[in-house]
Subunit: 638 residues, 2 copies
Amino acid sequence: MADHVVRFTESGKNVQVPTGSLLSEAARLAGEEIGQPCGGQGRCGRCLVRVEQGTVRSRSSLRIALEDQQAGYVLACQAVVEGDVQVSVPEQEKIERRLTTDRTAQEVGVPVGYQYPRDQTVWRLHVSLKPPDMDDQTDDWSRLQNALRQQHGITILNISLNLLRKIGKVLRTGEWQVTAIVEYQKGEEFRLIDLIPKHVADSQPLWGTAIDIGTTTVTLWLVNLLNGEVAAQVAEYNGQIARGEDVISRIIFASKNNGGQILQDLVLETINSLIERACKRAGIQPETIYKASLAGNSTMMHLLLGIPAESIRLSPFITAVNQPPLMRAVEVGLQLHPEASVDCLPGVASYVGADITAGVLASGMDDSEAIRLFLDVGTNGEIVLGSREWLVTCACSAGPAFEGAGVQDGMRATKGAIEEVWVNTNTFEPTYRVIGGGKPRGVCGSGLISLLAELFLTGVIDKSGNFNLELGTPRVRNGEHGPEYVLAWAEESSHGNDIVITHVDIDNLIRAKAAIYAGFTILADSVGVSLEMAEDVLVGGSFGKYINVEKAVQIGLLPDKPWEQFKFLGNTAVRGAYLALLDRKMRARIAAIAGRMTYLELSADNTFYEAFTSALFLPHTDLSRFPSVADAFALPHV
Amino acid sequence: MADHVVRFTESGKNVQVPTGSLLSEAARLAGEEIGQPCGGQGRCGRCLVRVEQGTVRSRSSLRIALEDQQAGYVLACQAVVEGDVQVSVPEQEKIERRLTTDRTAQEVGVPVGYQYPRDQTVWRLHVSLKPPDMDDQTDDWSRLQNALRQQHGITILNISLNLLRKIGKVLRTGEWQVTAIVEYQKGEEFRLIDLIPKHVADSQPLWGTAIDIGTTTVTLWLVNLLNGEVAAQVAEYNGQIARGEDVISRIIFASKNNGGQILQDLVLETINSLIERACKRAGIQPETIYKASLAGNSTMMHLLLGIPAESIRLSPFITAVNQPPLMRAVEVGLQLHPEASVDCLPGVASYVGADITAGVLASGMDDSEAIRLFLDVGTNGEIVLGSREWLVTCACSAGPAFEGAGVQDGMRATKGAIEEVWVNTNTFEPTYRVIGGGKPRGVCGSGLISLLAELFLTGVIDKSGNFNLELGTPRVRNGEHGPEYVLAWAEESSHGNDIVITHVDIDNLIRAKAAIYAGFTILADSVGVSLEMAEDVLVGGSFGKYINVEKAVQIGLLPDKPWEQFKFLGNTAVRGAYLALLDRKMRARIAAIAGRMTYLELSADNTFYEAFTSALFLPHTDLSRFPSVADAFALPHV
């Protein structure tokens, strides 16, 4: 077989590979840093490269916008070398912005009044020891404990066998001047995390990490524990996606053969590659990270820890553990310092996990005098209602419709997705906005909400979601799966097919929004308050950041409140983990939140089905709950 | 190559092996249980078998008495098959009695007043849980904790990740009726060791193990924690012997390449094979042992735990750790229940380890009103002097002469060893007793002490150990290495060579006894008491069990006290570990002993060399210290 030269523009490196090699293989040989979290399945899009000279045979253009394809972009894991080529590798960050659901970087502020020595559980202490001699033959470990007691007041210090094995050498290499990393545990107890020869300068950072393990996306912040500064924020698709899009399918996968091990390995790979990436960006070694705080839903937590999750899925829906004990990185499999403390934040129930308790902390609602409503819509919709006095919570099995799944032309909120739609009241012709500009490839969650609202307000569909086939527009037609509305004609789309929303899609969307709205109703009823009494609605998750609130209200997904009462907080889970990482009082608050929350199991609630069916209309059976929507209807009739 | 049939008498099994195969290989193929702790080096003698029909070519008869050789006994690991043979495999226990240094089984009494629920740290608790339902979705781990709190008053319970992974399944398999094994830790804290589906009957034993890791021999007791009964006592040569006979050579071996790992693996193999053997004897599974208490000298402890021991050997002789924390079996590598608690008992210094603290507990001297002297002679001689009020200790580098090493015809106290000698005052002809009867192969420690005393009292050697060459007996002659005494002529010995004691041997023995006696002197002087004030002398270790006290006094090894003041306690280390295993108050007493003991570093003591040189005579420069020896000399002169 003939060999071809593959040249990489930025690094100037050349490699020779035989005909038929994948570009990703050539990149590996050349030592180029190319992400491949999906394992080379052409799924995640992270290995995007641009062919600048020569051509390759590409087996898949999934995830690449048409104009990017025309500009020479290919997935390295799907592109076959058949001649000499020159390839440009974009910076990973640019790909991220192009592909992950977080479309803008989130601003992170150091918590007000953060003071390392007072708030932190991880301490870095200088220790000066008197060397042993014939008159003082105290053993190394006692000598170290004595010095820490005398010099820093630490009376009880725990140590692992692994560390016991190295302290003798460290003490002697450092000539009895060492730096101890210790973690406060409880009571008078501390634990030795590491011992470093010589004194580390006080100006050197001390590293920790806050991680949110989402079903879809894993987010990691690298944090300097001394001052709270975030040195790197990275995110990546959860490597488990290939084994199921939602928690239920993951649990089923995990319960078969060694599926649990496979899923555990996949998410560990994702997290460890994020750790590596963040460390590279900050120019540090992963072994210098001494603490991790983890948020994530209960299923993600179980799968990460290798704990069977089967009982989460089956009635009566029981987790093995809501409050995992403090663990060490080496036990969990995280590639930090092996003795680093791993703090899995506490959850409340099978479907209200640590992502929600951390989110509530980040939202501040647990310390609010006024009643507030917190909502995190992902694959599930979790809702919390309450204040400083009380907190109630529930989870709605909304399904992934608002993430673009289960909808014919649905897609995630990435380049090529229609994110906003307007429909002309008279002609029923649509106008839309596409993420990243260019031709559309599908419709993402915010686009679906917008479209549903527009179709409803313009009378294309009625309050039950049924199409009006008498409008005389070619946009409404009978398609393969029944009535449908054409949002983009084939020639307007990037893939050359019509982009439509079908009656089935609309049914799915209405059921999803009804599940969430019924959740609001049940929560409010359970404590005898009305939704109007909630001072504001705090929306967590990336989902909330891009939806048109007015339209979400118009379809009855969100309660009818003035738009200024909606606050979009972004990824509250990672922010809560960050606060818990920095401040032991914040960590205690999350534990208190988990302890205080009353969980309502909707599937056990007789009134849920009633509330759900009442919400299976646009916006709702009871229009008095949506006065602003009634007004919107009134307008054209004037 | 021709094949031959090897038939095993007891099992009736046949195997075919080619010419030149080892018998041990044939045994392995036939599934015969043959011990090979030395790894097939013909060293340990544990693979002793008897050839009943046919012949084999044996490459070594080391360790086999002549009459056993004549009866067809061979070492399977050294015997080559060259024709059809029939082989009998003796029961392992019989080999043990034949080979290990413990010549009699030690009687073990359950401690007076032992009460499981009051004294034990490991508890077995029945727990009945209310199954979860839609009204009570408490997570499994909280549910278990709640039940243990309500039903058994346990408020704080720690758990490992490994156990968290299985509790869900155990609770459901047991239909919410389970047995918890917990260990008390400290304060209000307990740790979950295991969870078993269904209730285990109260009549079932609950297992623990007490282990003494000797430099030469590892001893293990399998103990029912409910009533203190010892179900099995097993012992085995420490597999590390092949890598060095004493602690110093082991430390040197450990510090080179991956020597530490090799030694750790070897001792773990020894212990794990003992665990297996004890369990087989008791008919139980190793996974049902929930706690181990370990005694052993400081070097053995470091090597077991994989902690570098180099600093023990080098001035100022520092251990990495004297009081290892509680560990789990899986961390240490012991094949018990993986979560079993491993309690390494505390030591005092580099050369006064947990074998001595445990020994002091077993001797009871720490609770004695009278002053007592405790002595454990092995490769080192450790001495403790004291009472309820105070304890001082030191270690004497006696060297292994009393274990038969470093002496031309020295050997361990096994079959074929001369253990007692009498020399005729007029003819200087010896009479001796051989362990196991039959022809002698060498002289063990007690034989050497006896011989030295006899030669001294009969004037064959003077008080400096020099031979009197003018006696006119052929027994005293100039040999290859200078003057020597012939204890057995070639035709009387099992190997057909003369058995002698040389001037060099005698020098070595005198230096060894001088080191120990100097230890007595320094200890007593350091606290300003005389040895006469010690009410008795407690001798630990198997060494002490067989020596002739009178003769040990005559050579100046032991202080000159009436024989009824000497008490021989056997293996005090394993007995101390056994007490600590059973009773938390006993364990606390060992910690108190370790804390109370004042350690005298003899190599830093200016008076030690003086005391040592004064003791380089038989029995001592100062004969007033040995009035009974003066009397013995007086007798023949009357």
